[in-house]
C-alpha cells in the first residue's frame, strides 16, 4: 500500500508548489478548509483573494478577475460550487467561456460524517449540463498532482472534482501521464465486460476486477478522469469489444458518468449496462465504507452486479 493522501490535498499542495515558479495564476478562497489552498495567501499574499463565506460572490469575483485576463483557481466545497453558486458558474464563467478552474472538494459519499448537506452527489450532473465546461476527477493523489499541472496550463472553464479522505495510490508517479479527454486502461483481464469508473472508486473497480478474474470473468477497467468531454471512442470501443459496460461513480446515477456513458452507448452501440452509484437518494452521516455498502457501491456489490450483467449479456446474445 502506498502513501495515503486525499486527492484534494495532493492537488492543492501541488498547486502551491507550482506557484513558486509559475506566477501566471491567482487563487480565490471562501472560508473553507478545502485543499490546502487556504494557505496560498501566506506564501503569495498578492495572488490570493479572500471572499469569506460568500460563494456566489466568490465565483462572481473570480469571473471578474478572469475577464481581466487572469488565470483563476477558486476553491470551495463541491456542494457550494455547484449549487450555491450554480448560476454564477453557468452565466458568468461558462457562458463567457472564462479561464476559471473551480476546485470542488468533499465530493460524494466519501465525505462521511458531515452527511447529506455537505456531500455533493449531483455536482457532475449540474456541471456537465453547462456548455464550455470541462470536468475532471482524479483517482488518486498521483493523478491529482499530475492534474494540477494540467489545470495550470488549461484555458477555459474547468471543474476539478476532489475527494475529502486519503486514498491509497494506484498509479506509479514515474509512469502516470494525464491526458485530457482520454480514458486510461488500468486493468485488462479479458473481454467479458468493461468497467468505466471515475475518481477514487477506481480502487474498488480494480479490486472487483481481480475478484472477477478469479471467478473466470475477464474485465477491463477504464479510468475516465475526464468526464466531459467524454472519451466517446473509448466507450464505443469498450461496447464493441466487450459487449457489456458497468459504470461506477461516487455520485447519483442520474446525469453523471453513468448517464454520460449510457448516452454514448445507446446512440452508437447498444449493449447491456449497469450503473453503480447513488440510487436517487440523499447521503447521510456515517463511515464512508458503510455508506458505499448501503448504496451497493462496495466491492462485493460491484462483483455481484457484474456477474448479473454478464448473465444479461449472455441472454441477449442467445436471444438474438
Amino acid at each position: 500500500m502506498g502513501k495515503t493522501i486525499a486527492t484534494r490535498m495532493a492537488f492543492g499542495h501541488e498547486l502551491l508548489e507550482i506557484a513558486k515558479t509559475n506566477e501566471n495564476f491567482v487563487v480565490c478562497n471562501a472560508d473553507t478548509k478545502t485543499c490546502g489552498l487556504e494557505k496560498f495567501g501566506i506564501h503569495f499574499p498578492e495572488r490570493e483573494f479572500s471572499f469569506g463565506i460568500a460563494e456566489q460572490n466568490l465565483v462572481g469575483g473570480a469571473a471578474g478577475l478572469a475577464a481581466c485576463g487572469n488565470k483563476v483557481f477558486l476553491a470551495t466545497f463541491a456542494v457550494f460550487a455547484s449549487m450555491r453558486a450554480c448560476e454564477q458558474v453557468r452565466t458568468f464563467i461558462c457562458y463567457p467561456n472564462l479561464n476559471v478552474t473551480i476546485i470542488g472538494t468533499h465530493a460524494g459519499l466519501q465525505v462521511g460524517g458531515d452527511g447529506a448537506t455537505h456531500a455533493a452527489i449531483e455536482d457532475v450532473s449540474i456541471m456537465r449540463s453547462f456548455p464550455n465546461m470541462t470536468i475532471v476527477q482524479p483517482a488518486d493523489a498521483i493523478a491529482a498532482k499530475a492534474l494540477a499541472h494540467a489545470a495550470v496550463d488549461f484555458t477555459g472553464p474547468l471543474y476539478v472534482r476532489l475527494h475529502r479522505n486519503p486514498v491509497a495510490d494506484l498509479y506509479d508517479p514515474q509512469t502516470y501521464r494525464f491526458e485530457w479527454g482520454e480514458a486510461n486502461l488500468v486493468v485488462n483481464h479479458g473481454s467479458d465486460m468493461t468497467i468505466i469508473v471515475s475518481g477514487i472508486l477506481l480502487k474498488k473497480a480494480v479490486d472487483a476486477a481481480a475478484l472477477l478474474k478469479e471467478q473466470g470473468i475477464g474485465v477491463r477497467v477504464l479510468d475516465m478522469a475526464t468526464i466531459k468531454p467524454l472519451d466517446k471512442e473509448a466507450v464505443i470501443r469498450a461496447a464493441k469489444e466487450t459487449g457489456a459496460i458497468m459504470t461506477i461513480e461516487d455520485h447519483t446515477i442520474l446525469g453523471g458518468l453513468g448517464a454520460a456513458v449510457a448516452e454514448v452507448v445507446v446512440e452508437n452501440c447498444p449493449v447491456p449496462m449497469q450503473r453503480i452509484g447513488i440510487q436517487d437518494r440523499f447521503a447521510e452521516s456515517g463511515d464512508p465504507e458503510l455508506l458505499y455498502r448501503d448504496n451497493h457501491m462496495d466491492v462485493d456489490s460491484i462483483v455481484e452486479k457484474a456477474k448479473a450483467l454478464i448473465v444479461r449479456k449472455k441472454k441477449r446474445a442467445g436471444g438474438i
Partner: protein, 282 residues
C-alpha cells in the same frame, strides 16, 4: 475635490445633445425589436452618456485595451442604452442598432461580452455585476493598474442578496476605484420598489458596508459629471445613488411599471420621439 475645469458648459451642451440622440436610439431599437426594456434604459441615459462620452478612459478602436476603464451594466435588461452609447461612440455601426434581439445579432437581449465590441462583461441576471466589478478591481490592484470600474445597478436589483456580499468585499478589500451607480428610478417590474420590497434607507446601507455615498439628480448632466468626478477622487468604494425617473422623457412611460419591459408600437414611437425632441431633458 472637484476640479473647476473638469467639464465646461460646452461639454454639458454636447453631452445633453448626445443624450437626446441616445434616447431616440433606445426607442427606435426597442420598437424595431418589438420587445425590450425602455423604462430603465431611459432613466440611465444621462449617466451612461456622461461615462462613455466624457468620463471613461476608453478607446473604441481598441475595446480590449488592458488599462481601459470598465463598465458593467448589472441591470443588463437596460442594454439598449449601452448599445446606443457604444454605437454612437464608434464601437460598431449605429446601423446595427435595429438588429437588437434578432437572430444572429451582435446585440443580444442582455449584454454578451463575447458578441458585442465594447461590452466589458456579460450581464443580465440581476445581482451579479458588482461581484464581477470586485474581481476586476482586485485584478487592477494585483497588476498595479489604476483603471476605474463602474457598475450600474437597478434600485430593485439591490434586493438581491449577492449585491451585499459584493459590497462587503469591496469595503474589505478597499477597492477605491470601484463605483456602484444605483439607478434609483423607484419602479420595478410589478410596481414601486418601496412597496414590493423597500430598499430604504438605501444610503445608510451602502455606508454601513464601508462605501462613500453620493446622491445626485440622475437627469442633471452637471450633477452627474460632478458626481463621477468626485467618485474618482474617493479613497473608498463609492456608491452614486442617482434619483431618476423611469421612462424619462416620454410622458406616457414615466413612472409606469408597465413600460419596464414592453415596446412602443408605431404610433407610440412617433409620439415618444416627438416628445423627446421637443422637451429634451430637465
Amino acid at each position: 475635490m472637484v476640479s473647476s475645469n473638469y467639464f465646461t458648459e460646452r461639454d454639458v451642451e454636447r453631452l445633453e445633445a448626445q443624450a437626446l440622440q441616445i434616447r431616440e436610439d433606445i426607442l427606435s431599437m426597442i420598437h424595431a425589436a418589438k420587445s425590450g426594456h425602455p423604462g430603465g434604459s431611459l432613466s440611465a441615459v444621462e449617466m451612461v452618456t456622461a461615462l462613455y462620452f466624457h468620463v471613461m478612459r476608453i478607446d473604441p478602436q481598441n475595446p480590449d485595451w488592458e488599462d481601459r476603464d470598465r463598465f458593467i451594466l448589472s441591470k443588463g435588461h437596460s442594454c439598449p442604452v449601452l448599445y446606443a452609447a457604444l454605437a454612437r461612440r464608434g464601437y460598431f455601426s449605429p446601423d446595427l442598432l435595429h438588429t437588437l434581439r434578432q437572430y444572429h445579432s451582435i446585440l443580444q437581449g442582455h449584454p454578451d461580452m463575447k458578441k458585442t465590441p465594447g461590452v466589458d462583461m456579460t450581464a443580465g441576471s440581476l445581482g451579479n455585476g458588482l461581484s464581477i466589478g470586485v474581481g476586476m478591481q482586485l485584478s487592477a490592484k494585483l497588476h498595479h493598474q489604476n483603471y476605474m470600474t463602474y457598475v450600474m445597478l437597478g434600485d430593485g436589483e439591490i434586493q438581491e442578496g449577492m449585491v451585499w456580499e459584493a459590497a462587503m468585499a469591496a469595503g474589505h478589500h478597499e477597492l477605491k476605484n470601484l463605483v456602484a451607480i444605483v439607478d434609483c428610478n423607484g419602479v420595478q417590474i410589478n410596481g414601486w420598489v418601496n412597496e414590493i420590497m423597500t430598499i430604504e434607507p438605501v444610503a445608510d446601507k451602502w455606508r454601513a458596508f464601508g462605501w462613500r455615498v453620493i446622491e445626485v439628480n440622475g437627469h442633471n448632466m452637471k450633477d452627474v459629471l460632478t458626481a463621477l468626478h468626485t467618485a474618482k477622487t474617493m479613497r473608498h468604494p463609492t456608491a452614486i445613488l442617482m434619483r431618476t425617473v423611469k421612462g424619462k422623457g416620454v410622458s406616457f412611460m414615466e413612472d409606469d411599471c408597465s413600460w419596464h419591459g414592453s415596446a412602443p408600437d408605431d404610433e407610440q414611437l412617433v409620439k415618444a420621439i416627438a416628445e423627446i425632441k421637443e422637451g429634451g431633458v430637465v
